[in-house]
Symmetry: C2
Subunit: 105 residues, 2 copies
């Protein structure tokens, strides 16, 4: 009977958790700067969302599947941009930033 | 009987989700560089973990409470470092960038 409040909270929390990656994807895409982002974090995050999605499929819970596939796509995008920029800048060297590159390549 | 596999998956996924923030906290702490990190992302993330923790208390689920309080502490640490560095460097300009780098931008 009084279960609507926790459920509403969980839905809002889930929406926030998933959508939280959107500003990071946009920032990394626009600024082409991912130097301060931890590749290790996003490797672990992506793995976690893969497992959460598999878990959702296993227990047949659609909200878990949808939220986690969306989170997987968004955090995967951050990881992709991080890896691409690391390659562009060279793996070993410390963050190398050139504001002038922003409009190019 | 066959419920152990999804449960194991969920536990591993939860551990990964929570621990994913550790390398980001360490990197941001060591390198003192958070320019590429989205403050908006971590504001949303911290809000989400607050809601998840409240949800955990409401339904009396200890694993949800523990995992989300830990995630809250770790993502809160990233947000703290981000805000501190933004203040150090001045809000408007991203750190480590030389605005004077030619008329390229």
């Amino acid at each position: 009977m009084d279960g609507w409040l926790p459920t509403t909270l969980a839905v809002i929390a889930g929406l926030l958790s998933t959508s939280s990656f959107i500003p990071q994807v946009l920032k990394a895409w626009r600024e082409r700067d991912t130097a301060a982002i931890s590749k290790r974090m996003y490797c672990v995050t992506v793995s976690a969302f893969i497992l959460w999605s598999v878990y959702g499929f296993m227990i047949g819970n659609l909200p878990i599947i949808i939220f986690n596939l969306l989170s997987l796509a968004l955090s995967g995008a951050v990881l992709f941009l991080k890896i691409r920029n690391d390659r562009r800048d060279g793996h070993a060297s410390p963050p190398h930033r050139e504001p002038g590159m922003a409009g190019t390549g």
